[in-house]
């Protein structure tokens, strides 16, 4: 029991180190964004004697969740070999957790970021909204399909530069 205060300090330090480590864990489907930037890594905490990384799936059936859990675990175990990953569903992930800088990064990589807040239903598909082309910035774009290459994206085409592009759905 006398070791307890000492352990707590260690815990806090471990959490900081693991958090630092997490900056290099990328979303496998958006490899220029970290799981933290995506809001997938919800928290890193210290429980009893080990670090727990809490992650959340973007969509219920997102196949990347398993890969992400494995990548997070591997990265965390470099610091703490007893580290664990826990998946939390509630509160449900939302694109509102993606900050402005991250949205700009998406834009730079040719993906139209989610527009506005998920509370506004008209933002759902981007339909009826102006989704600017991430490549030529034209506002003259068209929804091709509300579904895309991954669960989180819709397919658009730009009527100006004629390039197809993906829009990150607002949920």
């Amino acid at each position: 029991m006398s070791d307890l205060p000492h352990q707590e300090i260690n815990g806090a330090e471990l959490v900081i180190k693991v958090k630092r480590q997490m900056q290099d864990v990328m979303d496998p489907e958006l490899p220029f964004l970290s799981v933290e930037e995506m809001g997938i890594l919800r928290d890193v905490i210290f429980e009893k004697d080990h670090v727990v990384c809490i992650i959340t799936p973007t969509y219920s059936g997102c196949p990347a969740t398993e890969v992400i859990a494995e990548d997070v675990l591997t990265a965390a175990r470099v610091i703490d070999n007893k580290a664990e990953v826990r998946i939390a569903i509630s509160p449900a992930w939302t694109t509102d957790w993606i900050n402005k800088e991250t949205r700009e990064k998406m834009q730079k990589h040719g993906i139209a970021p989610p527009e506005g807040s998920s509370h506004d239903r008209s933002f759902l598909t981007g339909e009826g909204r102006v989704i600017p082309c991430p490549l030529c910035k034209s506002k003259n774009t068209k929804l091709v399909s509300p579904f895309g290459s991954t669960a989180c994206k819709a397919s658009f085409i730009c009527n100006e530069c004629l390039e197809p592009f993906e829009h990150f759905k607002c949920i």
Binding site: P57, Y59, S60, G61, C62, P63, I89, S90, P91, A92, W93, T94, S118, R121, L124, T125, V144, S145, P146, F147, G148, S149, A151, S155, K169, I171
Partner: protein
């Protein structure tokens, strides 16, 4: 709501999603256009994801020991599945698939919205809150196709009207309450199906009128899914879904 009633309520939620998800997956590589192929399989993926959550939760409530979502999906026999008959109906043509989806989405959305709000079972509320976002998207998609097909060419109109007439007899089952629904209603977990039916009617009628389709008369309604009595097509679907884990138990890749 006792443990066994809760378990069965969760199995029903999981089974509805699983069986429709499996049916939609059959479209992979066969849909009329690439975008639609991607759409139907994306919806399938969402449903299978919801299945995993609901069945894992149900699996934790078995008295004989915890059952995994995979065990429940792949190792139960037909009579043990409690999904609605509507979701197991064969894909038919694209219109049949869209009508089946549309009728179910409207119901599933209202049901998930209720479960997301209740506090009797916070885990189920968490799963439903996530599902609501997804089903809203599915309903939007199936509704638009209803309008496009119904208000499209004479050929698409008459075919989708026929799909609607054919599948209508499976809609009554969604709103029948048995002991599990009643205990679910009492505890707050499940919605009042009579009230839900009124909201469902509004959603359905709104889209059908936009689609210039005629709402079929409520006649004889086919039931049995909730008791494990399924239609003929179900066994064939289940055989295909389960053959691999049953032939090679514990197989992984």
């Amino acid at each position: 709501m006792n443990n066994s009633q809760l378990k069965n309520a969760l199995l029903r939620l999981g089974d509805d999603a699983l069986i429709l998800g499996q049916r939609l997956a059959e479209w992979c590589g066969h849909a009329p256009a690439l975008e639609e192929d991607i759409a139907l399989t994306n919806i399938s993926l969402d449903l299978i994801g919801q299945t995993q959550s609901y069945l894992s939760l149900a699996g934790s409530l078995f008295e004989e020991g915890i059952k995994s979502d995979d065990e429940l999906a792949f190792l139960r026999s037909g009579r043990e599945f409690q999904n609605l008959l509507l979701v197991e109906q064969p894909n038919g043509d694209f219109g049949d698939t869209i009508v089946r989806q549309f009728l179910f989405d409207a119901f599933a959305l209202l049901r998930a919205e209720h479960i997301a709000q209740q506090s009797f079972n916070p885990e189920a509320a968490g799963i439903a809150a996530k599902a609501v976002k997804e089903i809203r998207y599915h309903f939007d998609h199936s509704s638009k196709w209803m309008v496009r097909l119904g208000d499209g060419t004479p050929e698409s109109h008459s075919r989708v009207q026929k799909s609607l007439n054919d599948l209508w007899k499976f809609t009554g089952e969604m709103f029948i309450s048995d002991e599990i629904d009643r205990s679910g209603l009492e505890s707050g977990l499940l919605p009042n199906l009579e009230e839900l039916k009124k909201e469902w009617d509004v959603k359905i009628d709104d889209i059908l009128s936009k689609a210039t389709l005629v709402r079929p008369e409520d006649g004889f309604m086919q039931t049995g899914g909730r008791k494990g009595i399924h239609t003929e097509a179900f066994g064939f679907m289940l055989a295909e879904m389960q053959i691999l884990p049953r032939t090679h138990p514990g197989a992984s890749w």
